[in-house]
């Protein structure tokens, strides 16, 4: 999960910007800290060699310098921020080898559902992707807000009910990574960690074929069962019945997931869904 050990181009660019920004700032922060400690020590009351200058209260030259140093730093970093924001826009394409893989992620209370519409399969709490290929994510939430984040692949993005966010990533090396939700979403939140299996592009079709043999089918009915609040200990896989399931969720044709099943005498809102 180390941010400084990126496994894809987006994470690599994120962490490069992180390290460069820190380096730029350290160049003025370290001398400033040294000066603070140095001045404080030298001008201590008991030091007879320090010259007391009670009238040194203004100096145009010093003022110019003290406004310029942070201003120049910010101009430099502002450039980094502007260029970086555009290059690393989560929706920007991340070209890779082979054909891109479309993945539709849905955050549920409290598990992750990954739908592969083109392969007509779906998985829960485990994400399997081919190395080197562009990964096009569409994300939404069945209920509350969450953040989809695989630290070693880079940029995170919110999932929200009734909305679709976009994120493009690429995993360069085969292996096992971990992902998580980075926005608190209720009692089962810490159990929203998921496995990321990066496998070779050759092995990917085999994995798809094996998964498609699953007995379990994901359709509106089984999805509604899945979206009940609870923690998923296993790693179920599904055949996907209707490739438009994600759209039905994102457009609220399938209503948002329920909250805790606690009797409440308060007026209950809801029931109306955009159709």
């Amino acid at each position: 999960m180390n941010l400084l050990d990126p496994q894809g181009p987006v994470a690599a660019a994120n962490s490069t910007i992180l390290v460069d920004s820190v380096a730029i700032m350290l160049a003025i922060v370290v001398p400033t800290i040294v000066a603070i400690l140095g001045f404080a020590f030298w001008f201590r009351e008991g030091n007879p060699r320090a010259r007391y200058q009670p009238d040194f209260v203004y100096s145009g030259r010093v003022e110019l310098v003290v406004w310029s140093i942070p201003a120049l730093t910010v101009i430099l970093l502002g450039g980094v921020a502007w260029i970086g924001s555009h290059q690393l826009d989560p929706a920007a394409p991340v070209p890779g080898t082979g054909s891109p893989v479309r993945i539709q992620a849905v955050s549920l209370d409290w598990k992750w559902l990954f739908i592969y519409p083109d392969q007509r399969i779906a998985t829960v709490n485990t994400l399997t992707v081919p190395a080197g290929a562009e990964l096009n994510f569409q994300l939404t939430s069945s209920s509350v807000m969450n953040v989809f984040f695989i630290p070693q692949l880079g940029s995170m993005i919110y999932t929200m009910n009734g909305m679709v966010t976009r994120l493009n990533l690429r995993a360069d090396n085969e292996g096992k990574l971990q992902g998580l939700s980075a926005h608190f979403s209720g009692d089962g939140f810490p159990d929203m960690m998921f496995d990321v299996n990066v496998i070779s592009q050759l092995a990917f079709p085999d994995w798809v074929a094996a998964t498609a043999k699953s007995d379990a089918v994901l359709n509106e009915e089984s999805y509604k069962k899945l979206m009940q609040q609870g923690i998923e200990a296993g790693r179920p896989v599904y055949r996907l019945d209707d490739p438009r399931l994600f759209d039905l969720i994102a457009t609220q044709h399938i209503p948002p997931g329920p909250g805790p099943q606690v009797a409440s005498d308060a007026p209950h809102s809801g029931g109306q869904h955009a159709r």
Binding site: L18, R44, V62, A81, D187, P190, S269
Partner: protein, 666 residues
């Protein structure tokens, strides 16, 4: 009859909150009984509860903040222990309890520790620094304090009756909506903030008016001490930002109580609007807290370096720049919500721009020390510790303002470490510096230096031992608010952080011991001169503690560092004091309005939380009637005769003359 309130609201099955609540109730009852039996109640009622004296109200604010600091700190200890042991296990706190604790910790530390602490110091000091006798609206000031106390009371009540929010300190919908949080927790959160928010708003209005309209002769804007400037900036932000919070929470409450759809998933509600609104208040809020701290450091560094503040005008400009720009950066709290690259970049750069005036402030304090004669008292230690720590917090802050970096740091432990870095290193260090610096002014004796320095070093070291590991955990991908985890590499850092927490706990113990030791040795620590630190601004020109009217004769200010110049002049003129002509002084009468109003507001808040509608009406009418009675008052001032003023002031002058002659003979 009692709405949703039943016996099941009291968590008989959860020993921790029940025991904690029980201890607090027993302690409160014990104090109350002691007060009544000893016959202190009339004194407390007359001199404190109904007092409209800005100094007394300031002290009560700080007292409230200190008590709530112990509560919020206990929450922090519970969380750090949980995360240290909850590796591949559930730890000792189940999610429903842990989630309440971190929500309460954030809410309490911001709204009921940091806010009352800085407002208390501003209340205590600003009228004195401006050379005036009280704030602009003394009774309103008391109302503001007591409403803040009401909010604190409701938050603490949630410990034993019902539950607190489990949604985090900003209660993001839809999680905080009725569907996903059907309990009373979010209602406790929202109503306590609504009520205390009114208190904060009136405090802001009061302070803005005081600074703008009530300055003594000759105290023009560019002669005001820096703390008055930062108070002005911070209070302007309160007036501008708190209504946003009130409106946002009102919408959330409409969703929860009346089936509205501002922030629900259904019927076109939009959660992103809540995010934008809450941070449009939330980001100015952090500057509301830190600007007064900047003011405190300016006073402290200047006083203990024996020099005027370097680049005063530059500091004023920087302060007001921060005040304005702080409203233009809120989006950096959710770069990862999918706004376009242009929006992200612009808000990122705007956020960095705040670092410019902040950096200028650091350099100006640095050059205030240059050529000074620095006395390392406790407040000065807090200030130097602040400068070093705050720069590091500023560095990580600018780092998360770079959108691509934030894309991997958002909501992580790195972020948690960053904002504790600036809030502890900035606001808390500032509050403690101000507390030690102005304590003798408020109570007439200094605090013990040895215990004060011990507290500083424990806090300083404890801070780094606690929060450097959190930075590290964030770099390892750890996100915040995890009740348990299975990632082995996070564990060692959580264990180190718990050790840091132990050091921070020792720091709090040192603070308490410092207070006890100082009270016990108050005779030897007595400040008879009113000027224990060789101060520069007008609060040191009167006795410690000041008389109720602050100044017998309104001071006439001739420049920056008003009192420093008066002292220099007095030395030159060989103390040839003309006998001043004393006059009668009119002071505002005490008023129970604030206390009574808050009493009814507490009833109303509690009733709203539990849907006890008849009680809501009772509370509302009671609070309103209190104001009507106050508005129809006939006498709101009383007169202190000139003879009394003269007697009090001559005693003060006598002490002061001794000080000046001693200093002059060196």
């Amino acid at each position: 009859m009692l709405g949703k309130l039943t016996w099941s609201a009291i968590p008989f099955d959860q020993p921790i909150p029940l025991v904690a609540g029980g201890v607090v109730i027993v302690a409160l009852l014990a104090v109350l009984i002691w007060v009544v039996v000893k016959g202190h109640l009339p004194y407390l009622w007359r001199e404190w509860i109904t007092s409209v004296d800005h100094k007394r109200i300031g002290v009560m604010y700080v007292l409230l903040a200190s008590v709530m600091f112990l509560r919020g700190g206990s929450d922090a200890i519970l969380m750090r222990i949980q995360q240290a042991i909850a590796y591949q296990s559930q730890g000792y706190l189940p999610p429903e309890h842990y989630n309440q604790i971190f929500s309460a910790h954030g809410t309490i530390m911001i709204f009921f520790v940091a806010m009352p602490f800085v407002i208390g110091l501003m209340n205590l000091v600003v009228p004195l620094q401006l050379g005036v006798r009280d704030v602009a609206f003394p009774t309103l000031n008391s109302v503001g304090f007591w409403l803040t106390a009401t909010g604190a009371l409701l938050v603490n009540l949630s410990l034993v009756i019902g539950e607190f929010a489990r949604t985090g300190w900003l209660a993001f919908p839809p999680l905080s909506g009725l569907v996903y949080s059907p309990g009373v927790g979010v209602d406790y959160y929202a109503w306590s903030l609504q009520i205390s928010g009114v208190g904060t708003l009136v405090a802001g209005i009061n302070l803005v008016t005081t600074v703008l309209k009530l300055r003594t002769r000759g105290m023009n804007y560019l002669r005001m001490p820096m703390f008055c400037w930062t108070t002005l900036a911070s209070s302007l932000l309160m007036v501008a930002a708190f209504p946003i919070l009130t409106a946002t929470l009102a919408m959330l409450l409409l969703d929860r109580y009346l089936g509205f759809h501002f922030f629900t998933n259904e019927a076109g509600g939009n959660v992103m609007i809540f995010m934008n609104l809450i941070w449009a208040w939330g980001h100015p809020e952090v500057y509301i807290l830190v600007l007064p701290a900047f003011g405190i450091f300016s006073e402290v560094v200047s006083t203990f370096s024996g020099k005027p503040l370097f680049g005063y005008r530059s500091m004023v400009l920087a302060t007001m720049a921060i005040c304005v720009i702080s409203f233009m950066v809120w989006l950096h709290h959710f770069f990862t919500m999918g706004a376009g690259p242009d929006v992200n970049a612009i808000f990122g750069i705007a956020s960095m721009i705040i670092a410019i005036p902040t950096g200028v402030k650091i350099y100006n304090w640095l050059f205030t020390m240059y050529g000074g004669r620095i006395r390392f008292t406790t407040p000065m230690l807090w200030s130097v510790g602040f400068m070093v720590t705050f720069i590091i917090g500023g560095l990580t802050g600018v780092l998360v303002a770079v959108p691509p970096a934030d894309f991997i740091l958002h909501n992580s432990m790195f972020l948690v470490a960053h904002f504790h870095n600036v809030i502890i290193g900035g606001v808390l260090f500032g509050a403690f510096a101000g507390f030690t610096y102005w304590f003798p002014k408020a109570f007439g004796f200094r605090l013990d230096e040895r215990w004060g320095k011990a507290a500083f070093w424990c806090t300083f070291i404890g801070f780094y031992v606690t929060f450097i590991p959190l930075y590290a955990a964030g770099m390892l991908g750890m996100t915040r608010r995890m009740q348990h985890y299975d990632v082995a590499v996070w564990r060692p850092w959580m264990i180190v952080a718990v050790i840091g927490m132990a050091i921070l706990t020792m720091a709090v113990v040192c603070q308490v011991v410092q207070l006890v030791v100082s009270i016990r040795n108050r005779e030897s620590l007595r400040d008879r001169t009113g000027d224990p630190w060789d101060g520069r601004s007008l609060e040191w020109a009167t006795s410690s503690p000041p008389p109720v009217f602050n100044f017998a004769i309104s001071p006439d200010v001739r420049g920056e560092d008003a009192y420093w110049e008066m002292k220099a002049k007095a030395r030159q003129q060989q103390f040839a004091h003309a006998q001043p002509e004393y006059q009668d002084i009119e002071m505002p009468r005490n008023s129970p309005t604030g206390f009574v109003c808050a009493f009814f507001a507490s009833i109303m808040g509690f009733a709203l939380i539990w849907h006890i509608w008849w009680m809501v009406i009772l509370g509302l009418i009671g609070a309103w009637a209190t104001f009507v009675v106050f508005a129809w008052r006939d006498h709101d001032e009383y007169v202190i005769p000139a003879a009394d003023v003269a007697r009090i002031d001559r005693a003060n002058i006598e002490e002061r003359r001794n000080l000046v002659s001693l200093a002059g003979s060196v």
